[in-house]
């Protein structure tokens, strides 16, 4: 095993999962935004250690955007009507899901292949995105456009009503 890749992988895994746990417990928007940014940084490191440099770059940009949105000071807080008991049930269900997925990862197996693509792979992923799976890319683009337009309309509409 290439020890440099392995060290990078485990450090990135610790940063991403730690950032996620901090996201669950930290109060305040700014600290939650920092936690989400740390998660994105860890995810980018995970992708880099998996020789997916282009995906790491996309994830870094997208999670930085998510962190900025979560840390923004102007959005309204909507309190959840669900009581504490159901939140605890949800937490236990998340732990059960983790146990199930970890068991599936431990028991699962697949035919191993030798990886021969490069470390960044922007040209190959670009060919996949715009030639092989162009319809999926257009569908995601339409989804993003609809989500952004809807978010802008709702944001402006609520602001005008005040």
């Amino acid at each position: 095993m290439d020890s440099l890749h392995a060290i990078g992988f485990y450090v990135s895994a610790a940063i991403s999962v730690g950032g996620g746990l901090a996201l669950a417990f930290l109060p305040g928007r700014g600290s939650r935004g920092v936690a989400l940014a740390a998660t994105g940084l860890g995810l980018a490191g995970l992708y880099l250690s998996l020789s997916a440099g282009f995906t790491a770059l996309v994830a870094l940009v997208c999670y930085a955007g998510c962190a900025l949105l979560v840390a923004a000071p102007h959005y309204r807080v909507i309190d959840n009507a669900v009581g504490g008991l159901w939140r605890q049930v949800g937490a236990v269900a998340a732990a059960g899901l983790f146990a199930l997925l970890a068991f599936a990862a431990w028991r699962g197996d697949f035919f191993h292949a030798i990886y021969y693509s490069g470390d960044f792979g922007s040209a190959s992923v670009g060919r996949l995105l715009f030639a092989h799976d162009a319809l999926a890319t257009e569908a995601v683009g339409a989804l993003v456009l609809a989500a952004m337009a809807g978010a802008t309309m709702m944001w402006r509409g609520r602001g005008r009503g005040r």
């Binding site: 992988f9 669950a24 995970l46 282009f54 809807g150």
Partner: protein
């Protein structure tokens, strides 16, 4: 990097998905719970990228990386939509 990391990659992906579900279930305010969605999508993306890195798939070898990149973009769009639906208000 050899295939020794195949199980740790899937294990970390499982941890990320479960952490995202935990954030969604645990946060009291819904706008903070939205922040768990990128974690879930990130975990799924790591699993896709890991399988395309280690496994002999029937499709293109970089398909998992492509799906992981698309999932990151979709996560950003969903967070933006959630914050937009919440609308403006006083910070807390």
């Amino acid at each position: 990097m050899s295939t020794d990391l195949a199980f740790p990659v899937l294990f970390v992906a499982s941890a990320l998905v479960a952490t995202g579900v935990f954030v969604v279930a645990w946060r009291r305010d819904l706008t903070a719970a939205i922040a768990g969605i990128p974690l879930i999508f990130g975990g799924a993306g790591v699993a896709f990228a890991g399988v395309s890195r280690f496994a002999a798939t029937g499709g293109p070898p970089l398909f998992g990386q492509e799906v992981a990149a698309l999932l990151a973009v979709v996560a950003l769009a969903l967070v933006a939509l959630g914050v937009g639906i919440a609308g403006r208000g006083t910070p807390r």
